[in-house]
């Protein structure tokens, strides 16, 4: 029972990070229709930036998260302008290939600049708490709380701000949004910035628990795609719920079913779900 509870808590921790990454990916897909395969690479950059700010710059961890989010917002906007905007009318396959090109560029620049070795954050918030036979570090609690706060802030941003309303309108009907005077191109740019900043936050939050290295984004990208397909492409609640579901399945399944093959749980789950319901759990037939 203790093991089970421990795995549930780990699953919620990992799931909250997955949700953040998947949220960014799903709003980008919802607006631009681009399967941004480089999303995990931007998550990696977020982790590196906050790592460097904390270790080399001596910046406070929370400030470092904010700065990396801001930096990645700018990088996301630049990527939209240079890479995805010229492809806006091309088949999605072309944006997909461009995104693969982006992975090559970003991951290898990281490799050149920071080297292939694993980087470890200095200890942060590693006080231990025990309850009901479960052990948890403060940092893990912080991750979940921060992720939830960011998700709520995103929801408020979309519901309460002008940019947010424009984003929502564009997601619902791109042509209609344009007709009603919304600058859709600017919405694209903002969305890529916003989605990327969420990936950066996720990287910065989980960085101190895992290790930071140039190839850390690959598996995360795949899992984020699994989540947004499980939850329905472009669906915000789907991404949040899907993130927690995947985190829990990986954590519990990894402990009880298989240790050797636990990475395939996520992908096996997806293939199974698609076999039963081809549009994902919450997706509508289209």
């Amino acid at each position: 029972m203790d093991l089970f509870l421990q795995q549930v808590i780990n699953g919620i921790m990992v799931g909250s990070v997955y949700s953040l990454v998947a949220l960014g990916l799903t709003i980008i897909y919802g607006i631009l229709g681009v399967p941004n395969f480089a999303h995990g690479s931007l998550y990696m950059l977020g982790a590196y930036f906050s790592f460097l700010l904390v270790t080399a710059g001596g910046v406070n961890y929370w400030l470092a998260i904010l700065i990396s989010m801001a930096a990645l917002t700018v990088i996301g906007m630049v990527i939209e302008r240079i890479v995805f905007r010229p492809l806006v009318n091309a088949p999605h396959l072309n944006s997909f290939i461009a995104a693969i090109g982006l992975i090559y560029v970003i991951d290898n620049v990281a490799l050149i600049v920071w080297g292939p070795d694993f980087k470890r954050f200095p200890p942060l918030y590693d006080q231990l708490y025990h309850f009901l036979g479960v052990t948890i570090t403060l940092h893990r609690i912080i991750i979940v709380v921060t992720a939830v706060v960011l998700i709520v802030l995103l929801e408020l941003f979309i519901k309460k701000t002008t940019i947010g309303s424009a984003i929502e309108a564009t997601a619902q009907d791109r042509v209609g949004a344009r007709l009603s005077g919304i600058n859709v191109t600017r919405v694209d740019m903002w969305t890529l910035g916003l989605g990327t900043s969420l990936a950066a936050a996720a990287g910065a939050l989980i960085g101190p628990i895992l290790l930071v290295y140039p190839a850390m984004g690959g598996a995360v990208t795949l899992k984020a795609f699994v989540i947004i397909i499980l939850g329905g492409m472009g669906s915000i609640p789907g991404a949040i719920l899907g993130g927690f579901i995947l985190g829990l399945i990986e954590s519990i399944g990894g402990a009880y079913l298989t240790t050797n093959y636990h990475e395939v749980l996520a992908f096996g789950l997806l293939v199974t779900v698609l076999a039963i319901k081809p549009t994902g759990l919450f997706g509508k037939a289209h």
Binding site: G101, Y104, N108, F225, H286
Partner: protein, 325 residues
Amino acid sequence: MNTSPLKPGFLIPAAILLLAVVAPLLSENRYLHHLMIMACVWGIAATALNLVMGYAGQVNLAHGAFFGIGAYTSGLLMLKLGIGFWIALPLACLAAALFGLLIGMPSLRTKGAYFAIGTLCFNVIVTVIIDRWENLTEGQRGLLGIPPPSAIPLPFGLTVRFDNNMVATYYLFLIMLLLTLFVTRRIVISLMGKDFRAVKGNEELAASIGINPFRTKLIAFVTSTFFAGLAGGLYASYIGFLSPDISDFHVTFEVLIQVMFGGIGTMAGPIIGATILPVISETLHALAAYRMVAYGIMLIVVIIFLPTGIMGGLKILWARCITRK
């Protein structure tokens, strides 16, 4: 896109075929021979991917997995059961096609990005299984010493040997590539090929005129995986060593990029991509660590400025030449 106004006749393909046949005799350079052999392997893989993606419109991101399944099937049959190359190779193709059928049945019910990501997940699963099933696949240590194709006896006591004979290997692989192209072309110009394009254009519309989209997609997919298995089986015997990396989704991306770079939905495009891209990738070695960065930038630039690949660019040039006359 499919019914191109460009018909340069048989002259250009015939000239290229002639060049492909005589080229290895013009040079003793083993490295050049190696590049040509690999161009055949990737050419088969890219032609196969183009069939399902360029003609039937299904973005299959598990191509590397089928390549790996073909390679490992043939490698394991030869190493562990001592089966000869000429039996192992067709079995490798069939194994890949069987997996294609098993995966195609559920996954082809999904569409667009769902299908793409679903197949990509299958690709990851295959690589992890090859990596972890050490009793069978030797895991990370890899399969060593896969034999080359066994010799073919000819009349009058002659034999064609393939061990350490790169020219013979090249001709064997070239024949396999031509076979793949022949079959693919027959399919594409047949009624079935028309069904492929109808399904690619609009599935609902295709269904309304009596085409079974699911069956059509499944045929394209299984045929494609069959030839992916062929490419994998040939690769295994040529390189002689296999590790889980060979089924990795990076292989999928590499072949996908070759197809896009050469020109998706054309017969020649995948071959052009499969020949040129490995050479570019090798040339960029001079840039050391900046190589992959340059490669990525090149990809982005090509996809933005030449979205239909080299063949698309050539068609535009050709059309301009014609209108000027």
